[in-house]
């Protein structure tokens, strides 16, 4: 009995996940339909940008700096064995701009801001705030979901750029001040190795896609949360799981397309 149940349960679970993904996709046009070029909406977006952007800066900048230090440390020790330590700048910048910057920022942002968006919207649902808005003839998707959605999409690429800058700074400090590489050589090798299009901009495009994914998953999970304490907890967890998996899968697909 339990065997059959398990098998069935697994299938149903998979189906649920898939249909969840489907309704998540259908949620996107519902949000986009409600974009109005108005100062009111702009003000609400800016307000949310403060919560998801400005307040994510500390974790992003600190992580970026230390990631930069670590890549430089690891890279230097490997490159040294081949007598290529002057290529450190190139190695650091390429790995950051193409992969680590966009992916790590997206994962950190999911944990810092995606969860809080999902929990906040879920809690507003559980405490009938969304119902109250609807009863005041105020569209909760336009008033609550849309500003958070847009703000998250704006924040991710900008935070990625800040992450990259801090990481390059960390690597530079390590290379120049700690192991004494020539500053001009470090920066010069980096410049000649990094192409604007295939290296820098491809990372930028990735971060935009990741921003859309995180924004959509967080607002969807929050808006469709079961209106209970447990429901909010599930929505938060699901936001992290679904966003992280989608980010890593899309990273592979985008890398294959952009290379």
């Amino acid at each position: 009995m339990s065997n059959q149940d398990n098998e069935f349960g697994l299938n149903r679970h998979l189906l649920n996940q898939l249909s969840d993904l489907g309704s998540c996709g259908l949620f996107l046009p519902k949000i986009l339909m409600r974009i109005r070029p108005s100062f009111k909406q702009l003000g609400q977006i800016m307000r949310q940008l403060y919560f998801v952007g400005t307040r994510s800066m500390i974790i992003i900048l600190t992580s970026g700096f230390f990631i930069g230090l670590v890549i430089a440390l690891q890279g230097y020790n490997t490159l040294k064995q081949f007598g290529a330590s002057e290529s450190l700048g190139a190695v650091v910048a390429l790995s950051l701009f193409r992969e680590l910057g966009p992916v790590l920022t997206a994962l950190l942002f999911t944990g810092r801001a995606g969860t809080s968006i999902a929990a906040e919207i879920g809690l507003m649902k559980a405490t009938e705030q969304l119902d109250a808005l609807e009863l005041m003839a105020i569209d909760p998707i336009e008033r609550v979901v849309l500003p958070r959605f847009i703000a998250a999409i704006i924040a991710v690429p900008l935070l990625t750029a800040m992450f990259n800058l801090l990481a390059v700074t960390g690597a530079y400090l390590f290379a120049v001040d700690w192991v004494g590489l020539d500053a001009g050589l470090f920066w010069g090798r980096m410049i000649s190795a990094v192409d604007l299009g295939p290296d820098y901009l491809s990372g930028f495009y990735k971060s935009i896609v990741f921003g859309v994914v995180i924004a959509l998953v967080s607002v969807f999970q929050g808006y469709n949360a079961e209106p209970t304490g447990r429901g909010v907890a599930v929505a938060t967890t699901q936001t992290v799981i679904v966003s992280s998996i989608l980010i890593l899968i899309l990273d592979f697909i985008l890398t294959a397309l952009l290379i």
Partner: protein
């Protein structure tokens, strides 16, 4: 509670910082800003064979890296390889009779271009062509040559 305007101002500041980081990296950490802002100039050279020279390979003079290979194309008429190099402007102009050769770092290392300055008083301009070139030495050809006419050049590697 923070007032409404402080919140929006900080959000604006966040956007400015993010855009600044984005632009700074695009201009200062990639090839675009440096090669278009007059910090470097281009020269071209033709080779009958470039071996496995790749774009972005270093261009050196007297062992010092002074630039990088920008692009490699095949001339459809002469069937020669045309190599465009970016030379860092801080190393100054090069004489027009500068020679370019393709060499290998170590025995099996990457290919790079070594420039040897001539004595001409005229200097190369942006986009000029080098006329004296040494093509890459292909190891297999060399070995083949050595096997069949071993009496000829004995001191080759």
């Amino acid at each position: 509670m923070r007032s409404r305007h402080t919140v929006e101002l900080t959000a604006g500041l966040f956007m400015l910082l993010g855009l600044a980081a984005l632009l700074f990296l695009a201009l200062e950490a990639t090839d675009v800003g440096n090669y278009s802002a007059g910090k470097s100039y281009k020269i071209k050279a033709r080779f009958t064979n470039i071996g496995d020279l790749k774009s972005r390979a270093p261009v050196a003079m007297a062992g010092v890296t002074i630039g990088a290979v920008k692009s490699i194309n095949l001339d459809p008429v002469t069937y020669e390889a045309e190599v465009v190099m970016n030379i860092d402007a801080k190393y100054g102009a090069l004489p027009t009779d500068t020679a370019a050769g393709i060499y290998t770092k170590g025995i099996l290392g990457d290919k790079y271009i070594e420039l040897e300055p001539g004595g001409s008083p005229d200097m190369l301009q942006d986009g000029d062509m080098l006329f004296i070139t040494n093509s890459a030495v292909i190891l297999e050809k060399l070995i083949g040559k050595y096997l069949f006419n071993s009496e000829d050049d004995k001191d080759q590697e």
